[in-house]
Symmetry: C2
Subunit: 455 residues, 2 copies
């Protein structure tokens, strides 16, 4: 590794300049006005891969192209790694809150500020440089390496899953690596081995056919807002548990080891509470905050609306009220099972006189990889090339649909090696990427290829 | 009465033409573009009063003028009656749903279609013609008569109460009559002797300071929508009773006579349910529909909002959720007392970790007049000049703030003599006034002056 390290050290300034070049391209995938810029970013990634020695092409989709590159000359005995990342970025609004322009990458106090600095151009870039370093120093890669860098992650990766499905053979590998997440804490490298799934619902309650005068009809005609509130209120008990019959049937218990490991992480409830500005924390009784977020299913309302919502007082008894709510799922729950149980329960809760309709909008299954699989072990060793603290295994509370796609379609583990920090302000003004994270990320990615090859 | 009747009969066609003239003036008080039209309507009413023989002037307010007219030559022994009505109308939108133009009054099938036909130009007009008939036939009025016709009823009568307060002596009377309501059923004249009061609230629940990702925080950070739903759900018990401690403390029980009289009214629950299009009726257990609407207090949500309410699924854990809700009050509840009890109860319901704020937006006290007071008795006899069925005493579920103002400030009973029907579509396209109602209303108003003078 010392020759590789020396190469990386020597090229630090150039690497930073290259990333800045990519960050100057406003590849905002949600904004049609930037369509040309998004394509320019794709072309930039392709060219950078080629320059590193990885032949790459643009694969057209119905939306933005997928940059696909591969270099398979490590031989059939060597494992194959697929790197996933994205070259598109979130919109930069509100512009006035940026200290310097979102597409004018600027270093201040050891931090690189720009839209996409950490999400995901900066993190994804580590893998381009890892390949470059191996090829420059040794003329070959220790693993067979494939790159799939997409341009629609910020708009829902809508063409990715069909691409993966139809290119299953091409994308075949032993593990997928993704760097698009934060470390648990600064200087504490983290590998995410589980994500929650999702079951997202919309519920509608209808009372009268039309809005009525609450004086002339109130008290006699069922009110859909009151009814909806009663239904929602009955979805949790006083201990914060979800009351849908059978909801916990397939929930895999946390292991003693997991609970101990999470309890040892540098998490502070009071600091967490203060960071979100809530008056207090609440959740399922008997579980810690990290357990509630990573290891337990939840039910949160995401939106609610109905009746008069303007200024002042209007005495309406509305015809309809609606809400959106979603359950985060943990292994071994499935969105289909939860959908069926929810539908039956909601039907049982509908009060007489109110028509209730439940729609299942969207689902995703929870993901849990064995944290001792070889790719995770290699990632943990690889972080040792950059950090002194041993890497920790964590889970994520959110859902990353592409992870489920890779897992389901390619049937391989996915390693989430986050290089960023939780204060990187992704999706917000003044997004940044610490230069320490930037260089350590390249070091860890470079080391990973050796470590995974070593098995 | 026979000479008066003959006069009214003889002038029916002219009366209709006059009302049409008034209906052609688009006196939409909420729309500044119609400011000139609203004033034109005021001037029309003033001139029509003068033509009838009642000297009248326009009293300026900070908004639209109040038409005030009086003719006090019945002498000090005769009682004094104050007629209240309004010359402004609701906006006509949506225009495309009108069969003929809202300001082109048209008779079809014995009904006069126009904005304001029943609310309130057509009903108020009856009292102008009653005065005219008495003065034309007999040269004098049987009572001292005062008119106060305002132009801001459809925008909340905002300058009325201060006007009444500051003109207390001028407006002094023995009874106020208002024709701005429907009869209970066609051919069933009705006198409203009670109205519900109101206590209108807005409630806000705050969880985190900013919207959060429901995956990364859900389950550990309190969700304000779920919290708000739980609070709202706890405001009623399973029997439809309101759970606010002491809420029913001052509720005056319905009398046996009232319950029997209401039970005898031609009300059909199934027809009522079908008319509002609800799947069923619901309310406080142990009470009939009319009792629930007229004689029992209620709590209805009027609006609710929070989080993501667009198309599709957004996994947000919102910072805030809000709702508007209001209680209809019955004698002897007071909005102040209910406000205090509600505030204490809501505070007790706020779950840990959620900041809850209750705002009292608006209140009005319930009204109940003795249904045997002389003005009501006179109104009942007067209806006999137009209808064969005896007039019934009813209450209203809504609140009419001016009624409370008259009652509070002038300390006299208010007689609500409705001439319209419940299918008149006031505030909606194709508002109409049955010609039968129109002519019977003039007859009843004309008879009322004699009946009230007779004591």
């Amino acid at each position: 590794m010392s020759e590789l390290s020396a190469f990386l050290k020597e090229h630090e300034a150039r690497h930073l300049e290259e990333l800045k070049e990519l960050l100057r391209i406003p590849s905002v995938s949600t904004d049609p006005a930037h369509a040309g810029d998004v394509r320019r970013a794709a072309e930039w990634v392709r060219a950078n891969l080629e320059a590193a020695g990885v032949p790459a092409t643009l694969h057209e989709t119905a939306g933005y192209p997928i940059v696909y590159g591969e270099r398979l000359d490590a031989g059939p005995e060597a494992p194959t790694v697929l790197v996933y990342g994205h070259y598109d970025v979130q919109p930069p609004d509100p512009l006035e809150l940026w200290t310097t322009g979102p597409f004018e990458p600027t270093v201040r106090d050891g931090r690189l500020y720009a839209r996409g600095a950490t999400d995901d151009k900066g993190q994804m870039f580590a893998w381009l440089k890892a390949a470059e370093a191996h090829l420059a120093v040794r003329g070959k890669l220790p693993v067979n390496l494939k790159f799939m860098i997409e341009g629609e992650e910020e708009v829902g990766s809508k063409h990715l899953s069909s691409y993966v499905e139809s290119h299953k053979a091409q994308l075949g590998c032993d593990a997928v690596v993704i760097s698009d997440s934060p470390m648990f804490a600064p200087e504490l490298p983290s590998i995410t081995y589980g994500l929650r799934g999702l079951a997202y619902f919309e519920i509608e309650a209808r009372g009268p056919e039309m809005d009525l005068h609450s004086g002339l009809f109130g008290g006699a005609v069922p009110n859909p807002i009151n009814a909806l509130a009663r239904i929602i209120a009955q979805l949790h008990d006083d201990q914060g548990r979800i009351t849908v019959p059978g909801f916990y049937e397939h929930v895999r218990d946390l292991t003693v080891e997991e609970r101990e490991a999470w309890a040892a992480l540098p998490h502070d409830d009071e600091a967490f509470r203060a960071s979100v500005g809530a008056a207090g924390l609440r959740g399922e009784e008997g579980f810690s905050t990290l357990e509630r977020i990573w290891g337990r299913p939840t039910l949160d309302c995401n939106g609610i609306w109905g009746g008069f919502t303007g200024e002042g007082a209007k005495t309406v008894l509305p015809a309809v009220a609606k809400a959106k709510f979603s359950c985060r799922l943990v292994p071994d729950q499935s969105p289909e099972d939860i959908e069926a149980k929810m539908a039956a329960y909601i039907e049982s809760l509908a009060p007489a006189g109110v028509r209730v309709k439940l729609t299942h909008l969207h689902g995703g299954r929870p993901i849990l990889f064995n944290p001792e699989n070889p790719a995770v072990q290699a990632a943990r060793r690889a972080f040792g090339a950059a950090y002194t603290a041993p890497a920790v295994n964590i889970r994520g509370g959110g859902s990353i649909p592409v992870v489920a796609d890779f897992s389901d379609i390619l049937q391989v583990p996915v390693v989430l090696m986050g290089f960023g920090l939780s204060d990187d302000r992704l999706h917000s003004p003044d997004e940044k990427y610490d230069l320490v994270c930037f260089y350590n990320g390249i070091r860890a990615a470079t080391a990973f290829l050796d470590e995974y090859a070593a098995g």
